[in-house]
């Protein structure tokens, strides 16, 4: 550790202004502050500062994502072996799934962080930690068979046009991870819809076992095959086809517990999304115009990306509403819209991604109204006082 510190101290002048590698200063600083918390002390204002920083905050989100990542690895293997009709053990399934997701994670980080490093160097800023989470979220919401070049393209699109052009982490309007998914969804719809993309190896279509379709619960609902839905418990546990990280509600709830216990994720947004989903689900149940509307509302929570979106996507603090009251409204509307799009719009079996991206746009408007009410309270105070003084 000490020798590492000494090496860094020796190298530092070369990467500083005027040094040989000054063009790589941001990269060096990023690496250095990754390994060592800087020795900077407070200069003005508060003399002591909290131990927490963005690195810590982002680390907590990554920890919260681990259960979904681990279960996703297992489930990907499980679905694959089912599709080819082979019985497999837990470790075999897990190993297969993990090896399938690993290249996606590596490509996502390489491309995303590469762009972040370049952007930070151009601006002369320190490297921001935001991509640490985004980089893991993106593979988790992609179909497992997505080609790596397509993933790289989606990441580049999301990071450059979704984030860096707005000024980097903290300035973006849209959730970058969802933007990457939306990019694939609209540019290469063949890779994001249909029944074959959700199970590893199914697109190649070799040695498929009889009767295995790979259809996700949501596509079964849209095509009117509700009788073929997996059981509620199966969908809750997550042993169903779907995006890598979204299938297991249990794993996601463990992540939610971590986010709420540490205060990193807003429980108000999560509760809002589920509340909105509940309200819309009950309303549709009450109408019951077709078989899909008749499906009990709680099925909506365990199908598709509803839970994953509520816990990990809607809670992104940068793109969500920023006022506490606004968070309730923002979450609630995401819940309502998700179910609405799912059930009433047959073109999009999954509504969560579009609902969140749409509410990303409206989040500042929600905040505007919440803040305006505070402003009005302040103005009213003056009027009341003027009135009483006139009397």
């Amino acid at each position: 550790m000490n020798s590492l510190r000494k090496t860094l101290d020796k190298l530092k002048p070369h990467f500083s202004k005027g040094g040989r590698f000054s063009k790589l200063q941001s990269v060096f600083d990023g690496m250095e502050s990754f390994m060592f918390v800087p020795d900077k002390v407070t200069f003005s204002g508060s003399h002591i500062r909290d131990y927490t920083d963005l690195k810590r905050t982002m680390t907590i989100v990554i920890i919260a994502l681990l259960p979904a990542l681990l279960f996703g690895s297992y489930n990907t293997g499980l679905q694959h072996f089912r599709s080819v009709g082979i019985e497999s053990g837990i470790f075999q399934s897990f190993g297969y799934g993990f090896l399938r997701i690993l290249p996606l994670i590596i490509v996502s980080y390489l491309v995303g962080l590469g762009i972040e490093f370049i952007a930070a160097q151009i601006r002369g800023h320190e490297i921001n930690e935001g991509y640490l989470v985004t980089g893991l979220l993106i593979p988790l919401i992609m179909p497992i068979d997505v080609p790596l070049w397509m993933l790289a393209l989606a990441v580049a699109f999301a990071v450059i046009l979704g984030k860096e052009v707005f000024g980097g982490t903290g300035m973006n309007t849209f959730n970058p991870a969802l933007l990457a998914r939306a990019f694939v969804f609209f540019s290469y719809p063949g890779w994001m819809t249909g029944d074959t993309v959700w199970t590893a190896g199914l697109t190649a279509g070799k040695n498929i076992a009889d009767g295995f379709s790979g259809a996700t619960p949501l596509s079964l609902c849209v095509t009117g095959e509700i009788s073929r839905l997996p059981s509620f418990m199966e969908m809750f546990v997550g042993t169903i086809p779907g995006s890598f990280g979204e299938t297991s509600v249990i794993a996601i709830l463990i992540g939610a517990a971590v986010l709420i216990a540490t205060g990193v994720g807003s429980w108000k947004i999560m509760a809002g999304v589920f509340g909105g989903g509940l309200a819309m689900g009950l309303l549709l149940n009450a109408i019951s115009a077709n078989e899909y509307m008749h499906l009990p509302f709680y099925y909506q929570f365990v199908m598709g990306g509803f839970a994953f979106g509520a816990v990990f996507m809607a809670t992104d603090p940068v793109t969500a509403a920023q006022t506490e009251k606004g968070k309730w409204i923002y979450g609630f509307l995401i819940g309502v819209l998700s179910i609405l799009i799912r059930v009433l719009n047959p073109a999009y079996p999954e509504g969560v991604m579009l609902a969140i991206l749409l509410m990303n746009v409206f989040a500042p408007l929600i905040d505007y109204f919440v803040i305006q009410s505070s402003i009005n309270r302040r103005l009213k105070r003056v009027k009341v006082e003027i009135k009483t003084s006139v009397k």
């Binding site: 590492l4 800087p38 407070t42």
Partner: protein, 450 residues
Amino acid sequence: MPRTIKLKKGFDIRLKGVAGKKMAGSAEPDLFGVKPIDFPGLTPKLNVKEGSEVLAGAILFHDKHRPEIIYTSPVNGRVVSIERGERRKILEVVIEKRGNEAIDFGKTRHEEITEERVKESLLASGLWPIIRQRPYHIVANPHDIPKSVFVTGFDSSPLSPDYDFILENSNISHYRTGLYALSKLANGRINLVLKEKSGAGSYFSDIPGIEIHYFSGPHPSGNPGIHIHHIDPVNKGEVVWFANLQDVSILGRLLEEGIYKPEKIVALTGSEVINPQYYRILSGGSVASFVADNVRPGNNRYISGNVLTGTRIRSDGYLGYYDSQVTVIPEGNYHEFFGWATPGIGKFSFSRTFLSSLFPRKEYRLDTNLHGGERAFVVTGQYEKVLPMDIYPMQLLKAILAEDIEMMENLGIYEVAEEDLALCEYLCPSKIEIQSIVRKGIDLMIKEMS
């Protein structure tokens, strides 16, 4: 029975080194410093030169824009140096003490205390700056008519002195006279704010025109800005004055004895202090007189005031005009290997992302390390938890950064000062310099409104 205003929002930083309830006697420093930087917004104009002889209560400098407000020497002696900083900005006027002579401002009998007389005494003796105002948190304008006057009778900041203990060791008569005199500035009415369950109310409850309010809750429940917001909020065009209870006793002494003797009881606190306790000292006195043998060796930071809002001073620096506390904590200029990734049992944090949050009573030795690099605003909903006001801090800060005057007004710039948002700065994961942003916003408002 007066009402207690209970605040839930806020945060107490649990530091080691709270002062024990023990008077260590009087500190007798030789050097005194009066610092124009203690008064935000002040443009000082010197009235003395190096070598000038001054009596206690004699003018050192005055406010260039409001010349009737003068700043005077706390002791009799000679001006030995005038320290200047960048662009010849005056940092401190240093006086070497000699003898005890003081200017005689004349005693004032109780029945002679009138608004005019009080203002006159305050301005002539250089004690006027104890009265500050909201909006802007600057020295009050003697020509204004405040809608109310507040006296802050407790402090909630980290390691703050205990005002009940200070009162037990003080001449209560000075306090009573001072409070009564101040009430004359606001049509005979004055608000005294005490901590919940404080016994101090009994000393003052029979003063005519006094209204005592009690506050409870974590810091910043003791900030005058918070009190004013909850009792008599400042709207556009209104002015509220406030002063600290210890400073009010200096006014009482001035009226009773006719001399300017800014004596205070000050707490020496902080994890690096061997024996944290209370000292009697004149305002502006060098802290070297009482920190010298009482601080652990090492690379320490000396702060006049508390860790959130205090001023960094040298180990022989001077006590700030408004400060009742000196804090000594370790500097934090070291690298920590993967510091952000450790479980963090010993890392105190407002967030619950460290294991330390499992030990809600432990006290900590915290240093001055930033614990991270500056970033854009990312995390939301944190600042609101430590600001017990109907104000949206992040939106206000953004309005200031955008220099949007109307929005700043709407979001409550008239009601806040940097000290009210100091906790936001402490806990900010993006390490944003919030207090200097707030002061920048206030400066902008002053410029815009004049």
